[in-house]
Point group: C2
Chain length 321, copies 2
């Protein structure tokens, strides 16, 4: 199947060609890039929801609940489960992904896990590639779930149309679990496991932190809500979905809001692509004549310092590439 046929099959909503293109992307096949170029113009219709939070807060259980609710509305759902610390890409393998498996036989749900940084871009561009394929195949909603709270994860999830940040009561000091970067990223906060002790305090503290961080209203006039839920028995799930819908309606009420956010997403995707491509060219230049190894060896033996070595590498790169 050439890139054009592959793109057409995906645009007609077929699952297997979509999965195939994701594999080709993972493998760094140049034709995958060609297919993505063709798909790009047909994307931008899906509603992208980011779900993030520390490990163990129940992100996958909440994602599972979201899938169920969107499916009840008859919407097609795609899920990209991003885990940069896992060595596995492709299927849904890891422990926390197992919960979503009850949707595995539902044709309207397409779940992919993404672990490695890609050949064509870093984590941001790789995630955007998979989101784009799901968007192009006609999924109405694409949920991007990330494990962890590192900068990469904040970047990836910050690219969604709506970002849901999940926490639980009693995660050490709550102040530890919710870092400033995450505070700014959140459109909706969820405190999961509200059956636990300290739930009320956790919600109040979060609201206090949002006030402290410059008021709960963002620059588009959106007030970030804090919703308490218990994913296991279903308490609060409707309020959570209502908050997500409200944010989506808020974004769509003024086309500039959504457009501004998506431009930001495009910018980050582009920079990520460029960075990965340049670093890959650089590696090729450095691989010639054991360049990098020699430099590392010289630095280790105290004959050079990393800062001067860096200058050497860059001038070599610019003249040779």
């Amino acid at each position: 199947m050439d890139p054009r046929q592959l793109a057409e099959a995906i645009l007609s909503g077929q699952i297997r060609p979509a999965a195939r293109l994701m594999r080709l992307l993972d493998d760094g096949e140049p034709q995958a890039l060609e297919a993505l170029k063709l798909l790009h113009g047909h994307t931008g219709r899906a509603r992208v929801i980011g779900v993030t939070g520390s490990p163990g807060v129940g992100k996958s259980t909440l994602t599972d609940a979201l899938i169920a609710q969107f499916r009840q509305r008859g919407l097609g759902v795609g899920v990209v489960a991003v885990d940069p610390t896992s060595p596995f890409s492709g299927g849904a393998i890891l422990g926390d992904r197992v919960r979503m498996q009850r949707h595995a036989t539902d044709e309207g749900v397409f779940i992919r896990s993404l672990a490695t940084r890609g050949h064509f871009g870093g984590l941001t561009a790789s995630t955007q590639g998979v989101v784009k394929i799901m968007d192009a195949m006609g999924k109405d909603v694409v949920i991007v779930e990330t494990v962890g709270v590192g900068q990469d994860e904040v970047d990836v999830v910050g690219l969604a149309d709506t970002t849901l940040v999940v926490t639980v009561p009693g995660l050490g000091d709550d102040i530890q679990a919710i870092k400033a970067g995450i505070l700014e990223t959140a459109d909706v906060f969820v405190v999961n496991k509200i059956d636990r002790e300290g739930a009320r305090r956790a919600i109040a503290e979060l609201q206090g932190m949002l006030e402290l961080a410059g008021g709960r209203e963002d620059r588009f006039g959106w007030t970030v809500p804090v919703v308490g839920v218990c994913a296991v028995d279903g308490r609060g799930l409707e309020e959570m979905l209502a908050a997500l819908d409200e944010h989506w309606a808020h974004q769509n009420a003024d086309p500039r809001r959504l457009a501004s956010r998506r431009r930001q997403r495009t910018r980050m995707e582009l920079l990520d692509l460029v960075q990965t491509q340049i670093m890959s060219r650089l590696t090729k230049v450095m691989d010639q004549g054991r360049g990098l190894d020699d430099l590392v060896e010289r630095i280790s033996q105290g004959q050079a310092d990393p800062y001067s070595a860096c200058d050497d590498i860059i001038s070599r790169f610019l003249t040779e590439s």
Copy 2:
């Protein structure tokens, strides 16, 4: 103070010049780089310990306990608390850092928090810069503590001579909290809060996961121990320190082991420096004539795709820089 004077003052162990150089680095002052070049040849003596784990597992409390124990031995201690999701660099501000403040008046302890990626390098190179300054000023032990479990944090902590990974019982499924990337990084595992229910199971599960991941012995013949501690009442802290000392002795028993790890560290620092420098040059090229904004706008309006735009940017970069 010129770079040479600054370097000399730091090498004589003075605290204020060291703090000043760290600020200059943060601010992107070129003289900071000059001073670091001069210091580089005088580094490599400090023992570097990395401490990582999910938010709320008690990393700072354990770091605090480590500081106290190393101080009892009369050793000078430096601490770099890395939090890439925080917008604050410099002092020790955030909630979880407060616990270390009891050492704030101890001249033998030097604590710095590091939030931003630097001007001269990303998180890896910035952290290495601060570690180097502490090393040069004569600290015997430098502890690098990172919040979160993202790839950046794994990279940063993986650069230590010994890496301590902290978890707690009942953090969702334990399998969620300990990802494969972290498993490979750990030299010593600590299960904190063993007064909690499920502690024994958590320790057993971790040991099981280590077996699964190819046996508990690494390629240098080191068996990764799992130590249960309760940082609050002090239980297990001595065993933890003993495990760290044992790993340090193991590394030093064969000079190739430590050298191989430190070469890896140098390589990552160098690549990080190069990447940041190239991206900063790229940004300059792209800032001319609204290059990036124009491209983003064209992509948003469907007149271009990010993959072709990436090619355009790279050829422009290579011809113009």
